[in-house]
């Protein structure tokens, strides 16, 4: 009895490649924009500072030039043009202070903030930002050595202004630069989207091709796929190829089956008709016996055919489980020995290398039982009444993979080496008269193949046939 398939879980909406790419690209662009903006901001600030610092320095030089010593003391004549140059923006305010190195203010605002690190003598301009009058302002500090009657002394000039003009320029530079960047990013995204659509187009074409097909159309897809999906297309084509092969096998199987069944039933009908036409009771009985034998053969043929179909079918979609071979062999032997005609058969199971419970492998128990039954039936059917059958179980390997070998030695007539290949084919029997349907070994062969194993025929040490069924321990590859 098969369980109903588990209810499908609510199907997750499949992810969209397009969306994934878009989200990824947008995130990338955003990160890039942030990094570039920080750089741009710094650049704009530096550019604005450099421009205005030049003005500040020029004005400072102009003012310092107008400081001169006289016998009556220092004259500080602040040129108004110098202050005007500095106060470029209307709202910008200008501050200045002229003072001695000792700190005494000569003129201007005495409370201007000093640069970090304090005032040092020197005629090189020093620029710095400092808060003043509730705003951040930019200052320059520059000195001039004046020779006075009392001796040389450094006169310092601190000139500054609020940052309005600078900030405006910085914002201007920044926003223009940023606008360019954003425009490039948007354009990039648009092109990327177009690119994705273009890249996806062949997939849609393939889908349309497959959907638009007749169910019987199994010709390969003729789409010219991009390299990235070439493998996928190849796999689809391979798959369709396998479907075609499997369908052809099924068709030839059905054709074979139809032929065999018709032949067998026709023979049965013939025997029955002959029996019906007999007037003599004794001859009628003989005919009926022949008919009964024919019916037995037909029954066996039918069972074998169904068994073959089942094994082939199960090989495709039955889940395989880990099973112990010993109990399986045991029940197969039990079932086999229940038939009265097996009475004289000497049967043995040799499994010295494999202690109880160690003959484990992943396999379909129903298919394996079917295979064993056919092997035992074959030996009994084609051999003498007192045939000896040795079932062997041993470890082996199939191309480096661990495997178990189920062997069957018999003392029967055996199969000539030249015929061994052919008896694995369907409906090839050496002993049709003895009721051979020609399907038994092909069933075993199908089981071997569906399990990723192999079937080999050889001479037996008992004088008859040796059948070796090798099955990988961990199931079909």
């Amino acid at each position: 009895m098969t369980l109903p398939p588990p209810l499908p879980e609510a199907r997750a909406v499949p992810y969209s490649l397009r969306r994934r790419l878009t989200v990824g690209m947008v995130a990338g662009f955003l990160a890039l924009l942030v990094v570039l903006s920080i750089g741009l901001w710094t650049y704009a600030r530096n550019a604005a500072n450099q421009t205005y610092d030049l003005l500040l320095a020029g004005s400072a030089i102009a003012i310092l030039e107008r400081i001169s010593p006289t016998p009556d003391g220092l004259i500080v004549d602040i040129p108004s043009s110098a202050l005007e140059i500095v106060g470029l923006a209307k709202e910008d305010r200008v501050f200045y202070r002229v003072f001695r190195l000792s700190g005494r203010t000569l003129t201007g605002e005495p409370d201007l903030p000093l640069p970090p690190g304090g005032v040092r003598a020197g005629d090189q301009p020093r620029f710095f930002d400092a808060p003043y009058s509730r705003e951040t302002s930019r200052f320059v500090l520059q000195g001039k050595l004046i020779i006075e009657p009392t001796g040389p002394d450094w006169i310092m000039l601190q000139l500054g202004h609020t940052r309005l003009a600078r900030d405006t320029m910085q914002m201007d530079l920044f926003s223009k630069g940023l606008a360019g960047l954003v425009a490039i990013a948007v354009l990039g995204l648009v092109f990327m989207r177009l690119g994705i659509n273009r890249a996806m187009a062949p997939l849609a074409g393939i889908e349309a091709d497959i959907r638009g097909r007749e169910p019987s159309d199994m010709t390969p897809l003729d789409a010219k796929p991009p390299r990235e999906v070439e493998g996928l297309i190849g796999a689809i084509n391979d798959f369709m190829g396998r479907l075609v092969t499997s369908k052809e096998h099924a068709q030839s199987f059905i054709a074979d089956v139809a032929h065999q069944m018709r032949t067998s039933l026709a023979a049965l009908q013939g025997q029955l008709q002959l029996a019906a036409e007999q007037d003599e009771p004794e001859r009628m009985r003989q005919r009926l016996e022949r008919a009964s034998e024919q019916a037995t053969r037909t029954i066996r043929l039918t069972n074998q055919l169904l068994s073959h179909a089942m094994v082939t079918h199960r090989g495709i979609d039955e889940p395989v489980e880990k099973i112990d071979l010993m109990p399986l062999i045991r029940t197969s032997v039990e079932e086999f020995l229940r038939h009265p005609e097996t009475e004289g058969i000497d049967i043995a199971v040799l499994h010295d290398d494999l202690p109880a419970g160690s003959a484990l492998l992943v396999a379909d128990p129903v298919a394996l039982r079917e295979a064993l039954r056919n092997l035992l039936d074959n030996a009994a059917r084609h051999g003498p009444k007192d045939i000896r059958i040795d079932i062997g179980l041993s470890r082996t390997r199939i191309d480096e993979r661990e495997a178990l070998c189920i062997s069957l030695d018999d003392s029967g007539p055996g199969i000539p080496a030249a015929e061994r290949e052919k008896v694995l084919e369907r409906f090839y029997s050496l002993n049709r008269a003895g009721g051979g349907s020609g399907i038994g070994l092909s069933i075993v062969n199908a089981v071997a193949r569906s399990h990723g194993g192999r079937l080999a025929l050889a001479d037996s040490r008992l004088g008859g046939l040796r059948v070796e069924l090798d099955l990988p321990v961990d199931g079909p590859a």
């Binding site: 039918t302 169904l306 068994s307 032997v333 020995l337 009265p340 009475e343 199971v349």
Partner: protein, 220 residues
């Protein structure tokens, strides 16, 4: 009793059983068969699986639930072994896969009836062989067989497991108590002696090297 919906097959089976001198009733519908089984008992039930009304498994399960242990032989058309396993789980005593040989069906039914008779009367009969459980006495062709105590025990074990393979270890476990140390050699020796004494009987025990022993009854 036969529960089978195919008329031709039913007719063939009924003719066969009547020919052998058995009385046999037939029911084609599962529901009606189920009704009938409620108040009537039979020696043996031949039960088809695919039936109109009610399938064979359901009838069988209901029968067993009501405490009826009449031997049941399942007739199944499907060759899938899964079906057979389900049948045996549900309480069938044996099964036979359609299409089958009427001679084989008759032989299997005889075996079932024999098992049933042996259980209730303490007397096991198979052809020329009889075994009286109560008296621990076996005969072949009417002649008493002289059996030692161990041999009688072994015979009982094997009769209780006809058609089933018993490993040497399983036989030893059934023959010996926990205190005794069973040796597999001893089992072999008892088996050899018993077999020699039963030579010519329709009940025989065969050795399957590497697997154990199996008892079977030869139909004459």
């Amino acid at each position: 009793m036969l529960v089978e919906d195919n008329d031709e097959l039913a007719e063939a089976i009924i003719d066969r059983f009547r020919g052998e001198g058995h009385a046999i009733d037939r029911e084609a519908d599962g529901e009606q068969a189920s009704e009938l089984l409620r108040y009537k008992t039979f020696d043996l039930i031949l039960l088809d699986v695919n039936l109109p009304g009610r399938n064979g498994f359901e009838i069988l399960r209901q029968l067993r639930l009501s405490g009826d242990h009449t031997p049941v032989m399942l007739l199944t058309a499907r060759s899938e072994i899964d079906d057979r396993v389900v049948g045996l789980d549900a309480g069938a005593d044996d099964y036979i896969v359609k299409p089958f040989d009427l001679r084989e069906l008759a032989a299997r039914c005889r075996a079932l009836a024999r098992r049933r008779a042996g259980e209730s009367s303490n007397l096991f009969i198979a052809g020329n062989f009889t075994f009286d459980r109560a008296a621990k006495r076996a005969t072949v062709d009417g002649q008493d067989v002289d059996l030692r105590q161990r041999e009688v025990q072994l015979l009982e074990v094997m009769i209780g497991n006809i058609g089933r393979v018993l490993s040497k270890e399983e036989v030893a476990d059934k023959l010996y108590t926990f205190e005794e140390v069973p040796t597999l050699n001893a089992v072999e020796q008892i088996m050899t002696r018993l077999r020699r004494k039963l030579e010519g009987a329709a009940f025989s025990i065969r050795t399957i090297r590497g697997l154990g022993y199996i008892a079977s009854v030869r139909d004459e």
